[in-house]
Symmetry: C2
Subunit: 156 residues, 2 copies
């Protein structure tokens, strides 16, 4: 689809890429952060901070508080390791942490699955439209709610 190489990662490779990126930015890659990242990457739909707290709690056999998860998610978002889906109050791991994009998310109302597409022509168009209106864009949020290919048939 896109023209450039995204270095898609999965599993351990993804975790490793995340670690690299975080340490490169001068942040620590702690056990807790690794656990949160693994939990996040383990979901196949966007996960709320509480979902993640629960997953990490289970994985570690001890209770992990939501606010710790929030802290780490905020860090991840700022480091581009994860993205927040505003219309779902949830988070997804970024499968190509090295690339900076204004992502476009497609969110299936039926199954909750999300896919993300990159279209710099569109996103820069949005930024330009904002600028033209005298606004200084910082973070575009472009999300489309609807039905994914799988659910489009199912849900009449």
């Amino acid at each position: 689809m896109g023209r450039h190489d995204h270095h898609l990662h999965a599993g351990d490779a993804l975790t490793e890429a995340a670690r690299q990126r975080l340490t490169t930015k001068g942040e620590q890659w702690t056990g807790m952060r690794a656990a949160v990242f693994d939990a996040l990457a383990g979901f196949d739909t966007p996960a709320s901070a509480y979902d993640i707290a629960e997953a990490v709690s289970k994985a570690q056999g001890r209770r992990v508080a939501a606010n710790s998860v929030y802290r780490i998610l905020d860090l991840f978002v700022s480091a581009n390791l994860a993205m927040r889906i505003e219309s779902a109050n949830a988070y997804v791991a970024n499968s190509h942490p090295g690339c900076l994009h204004d992502c476009i998310f497609l969110i299936c109302d039926t199954c909750g699955q999300i896919t993300h597409i990159d279209d710099d022509r569109l996103t820069s168009g949005v930024r330009e439209a904002a600028s033209a209106a005298g606004f200084t864009p910082v973070r575009p949020v472009i999300e489309v709610k609807g039905s994914c290919a799988d659910c489009a048939g199912t849900a009449a």
Copy 2:
């Protein structure tokens, strides 16, 4: 900016337009709905359901529960009398209820003010991109966080 006539409404005229639109759709225009609409239209920044509940409570001299407000806001959104700002968990009145648009919201992180622009070229581009990915778009959410013209200077 836009090419077509938006029939911008304000104050009583806006309320009246809202009433018209709702009744046209076979819904009732009740006192409660009018009160919620007035409260919503009275805010100059997006208002949360609880903000509105409080405003209506004050106006009516009695306690109005959040869930009544949510019900009515949902109705308003579905009738295009109001729009939900996903990234702010809040609502704004639609000043041109007659027109259907995929709106683009510009949300100032500093003052909370929002402006909305219509750019069918962009929004249809987003819909097309989603369709091209095998996705059936229902409701695009396009919001840009940043600084409005007034705040851009202030907040260095």
